[in-house]
């Protein structure tokens, strides 16, 4: 066993911390769900990209540092500890990019990765449909082959960032006779294309965090098909695995939240000792769970580096962080008491926002009910 951080990794951490310390905006950026906020977040991404901190895990030729899993975990710890903004490019750099690296042509990589990394092109996802949520394989939006490309028709929903994003990646049924996982194709298209209509959906906090996207015979050229025609499911799964797995919910985020919770506890101990006393055990539990999550992900990363596959662990992972995230925020709100629902309170507002955000955790990227099925059937081998 060896948990000492290697010198090279420690140096990387130091470099990241130093840069973040001097560049993270002192004031929080305006909400990502407003035009102004979206633009401000694009600028921040560009600033990171220029310093080669935007896509650390990418190859240098695409503006990254070719960072490995451990560097990535370290960078995320430093990123969130520094109180840096949420990543507007998240869908692209964490969900789509790994798929492009795996399935994209040389032309697609050169066309899509650089503007994605610079946040000049922000991506929205097109997975779910009104009738296809947890049951993703039941989607019906279709793609008809035409000369030189395809015509897409149908509707997607829960498309995160689609209101302000530039491009969308998603699955469409390219074989009319097909069912379930077969006959699907993975398309990339600009939201500005003719026939695309984006209808914002106000989420729990009232902001248009996601949207419905309607497709009325939208033309997409053949070169914007990612992976093989009819192989969309296989291609997409590589993405949703990474979504559930390591690359979307880095421990740094929860460690930072647990640290903020401890600060809140310290303040509450002065302002409302009884409320602090009642929350003490939960605060300790939250810190322990965040620490356990960090260790579990580290262990999984080391396994992956050791060549082991990490498939269904990502479901256990998602169950744990999504419950941890809700619990951390519930504990904070309990301490905030009568002020916990105030949107104009500097202390409460971030916790309230965070709570509303955390409530999506057990739902998206495969509900926790689906995740428990996955653990039971694929990890434990129970009958379907």
């Amino acid at each position: 066993m060896d948990l000492t951080e290697p010198a090279k990794l420690a140096a990387f951490r130091g470099e990241a911390r130093e840069w973040l310390r001097s560049h993270v905006p002192s004031e929080p950026l305006p909400s990502l769900d407003t035009a102004a906020g979206f633009a401000a977040h694009r600028e921040w991404e560009r600033e990171m990209y220029d310093a080669r901190w935007g896509v650390v895990t990418w190859p240098e030729q695409y503006g990254g540092r070719g960072a490995g899993l451990l560097e990535w975990l370290v960078f995320e710890e430093e990123y969130w500890a520094a109180g840096a903004p949420v990543r507007v490019s998240q869908n692209g750099i964490f969900l789509l990019a790994p798929t492009i690296f795996e399935f994209g042509t040389r032309e697609q990589k050169d066309r899509f990765l650089p503007p994605m990394a610079r946040a000049e092109e922000v991506w929205a996802q097109g997975w779910s449909e009104p009738g296809a949520g947890s049951d993703l394989a039941s989607l019906r939006s279709k793609a008809e082959k035409v000369d030189g490309g395809w015509r897409l028709s149908g509707q997607k929903t829960w498309s995160t960032r689609a209101v302000f994003a530039d491009w969308l990646f998603g699955l469409f049924r390219s074989d009319p006779g097909s069912e379930r996982h077969r006959g699907l194709t993975y398309f990339l298209l600009p939201l500005s294309a003719d026939g695309v209509t984006v209808r914002p959906i106000r989420q729990l906090d009232g902001e248009p965090g996601f949207a419905e996207v309607f497709f009325d015979s939208v033309f997409v050229p053949d070169e914007h098909v990612l992976g093989g025609v009819g192989e969309g499911w296989k291609v997409a799964m590589s993405t949703t695995t990474s979504e559930r797995g390591l690359t979307l919910r880095s421990p740094g985020r929860f460690m930072a939240a647990a640290d903020r919770l401890i600060d809140l506890y310290a303040a509450t101990r002065v302002a409302d000792p009884a409320a602090a006393a009642a929350a003490r055990d939960d605060v300790a539990q939250a810190w322990m769970d965040a620490d356990a999550y960090r260790l579990y992900v580290l262990g999984t990363a080391l396994k992956a580096l050791g060549g082991e596959s990490i498939g269904a662990e990502s479901s256990a992972n998602k169950l744990f962080w999504s419950q941890l995230d809700v619990a951390v925020h519930e504990t904070a709100l309990a301490m905030l008491g009568e002020r916990s629902t105030l949107e104009d309170d500097n202390v409460s507002a971030p916790w309230l926002d965070g709570y509303e955000f955390s409530l999506a955790g057990p739902i998206y990227a495969g509900t926790n009910e689906v995740q428990r099925n996955v653990v039971a059937e694929r990890v434990l081998g129970l009958p379907r």
Partner: protein, 333 residues
């Protein structure tokens, strides 16, 4: 013995339920949420005409002189409909005024009964005053800690913005010398009345969230079947039902203890708030999980009930505060 309200009280509550279904459905609620004032026009007067606002006011002031056990089922209906109206605050305020008596009571109680005045009160551990921005009269402690009746025009309010657009919260500051000191009022009793009334609303909120979730689970299909046929959904909804079913009699008993000024009044009120808050929070979490994506949207009605359960959980003492109050009653010899 009887653990539910008397039949006439149930009948009265049923009529209020019809009234609210008529004038305060989800669509009306949504309008109120988007409205700067945050209330449903006309409802207050309708409630007054129906006799809700005067129900627990002593007859000498023109009220019906009923006790909290009679009002209880009405308060559950108010919770069921997530009504954005200051009923609890006004009812508790009227109780305080009636107990204080004198010219202030004589001046204000008839106006309350007629639906011409809203009262907001500050009692218990909190410092925010719910409904203060809506109130005509504020019952708040002055700098010396003496409860005073202060016309809101004379008070300084700092309004807050709650995630629940159906409530209005504010900090209230009373200038020296403003208002009329209210003597001879059992403030603990008044606080406990507000606590039980809030618990009753929480029970109603949980019932509606359960009903919404059950009907959604029966109609929403995934994997070719209604999601309500999955054991994981069934069991979450069953636990949600059980939690609230066991809170209901606890809240009823608390209303009885308050009406009887029983020695266990405060313990029972705290037990009620704790049980109802736990049930409503559980219901809100489960309802969202069962509705999944659609429940996470502002377009769907669910969030208005969820957020009301958040605010009522945080007002009139948190469940942790009330659990400790129960502990002090039962664990100390």
């Amino acid at each position: 013995m009887r653990l539910t309200a008397d039949q006439d009280a149930l009948d009265f509550a049923a009529s209020v339920r019809e009234l609210l279904a008529d004038v305060a459905d989800a669509a009306a609620l949504r309008l109120a949420w988007d409205d700067a004032e945050g209330r449903i026009p006309g409802v207050w007067k309708r409630l007054a005409d129906a006799g809700v606002l005067g129900l627990t006011v002593p007859e000498e002031y023109g009220g019906s002189g009923a006790d909290l056990t009679t009002l209880l089922p009405v308060l559950v209906e108010v919770g069921r409909s997530a009504l954005p109206e200051p009923i609890v605050e006004t009812v508790v305020g009227a109780t305080v005024l009636a107990a204080a008596g004198g010219p202030v009571a004589a001046e204000w109680l008839p106006r309350v009964i007629a639906g011409d005045a809203v009262i907001a009160v500050r009692l218990g551990p909190g410092s925010l005053v719910s409904a203060a921005p809506w109130a005509d009269l504020l019952l708040v402690p002055d700098h010396a800690g003496v409860l005073c009746a202060v016309p809101s025009v004379e008070a300084e309010l700092r309004s807050e913005v709650s995630v629940d657009r159906g409530v209005r919260l504010a900090s209230v500051d009373v200038p020296a010398g403003a208002g009329t000191a209210l003597g001879g009022v059992d403030l603990d009793a008044a606080f406990d009345t507000g606590v039980v009334a809030t618990a009753a609303q929480l029970v109603g909120l949980a019932e509606t969230m359960l009903a919404m979730s059950v009907s959604y689970a029966k109609t929403r299909e995934q994997f070719g079947v209604p999601i309500g046929s999955f054991q994981a959904i069934k069991h979450q909804l069953a636990d949600m039902y059980v939690d609230n079913a066991f809170a209901v009699p606890v809240v009823a008993r608390a209303a009885w203890s308050a009406a009887q000024s029983a020695p266990t009044r405060s313990r029972d009120a705290s037990h009620a708030k704790h049980a109802a808050t736990t049930a409503a929070q559980h219901a809100a979490r489960t309802a969202l999980q069962v509705h999944a994506g659609i429940g996470y949207t502002f377009e769907h009605d669910l969030h208005m009930w969820m957020k009301r359960s958040w605010t009522l959980a945080s007002l009139w003492g948190t469940k942790e505060w009330h659990r400790e109050r129960v502990a002090q009653a039962v664990l100390t010899p």
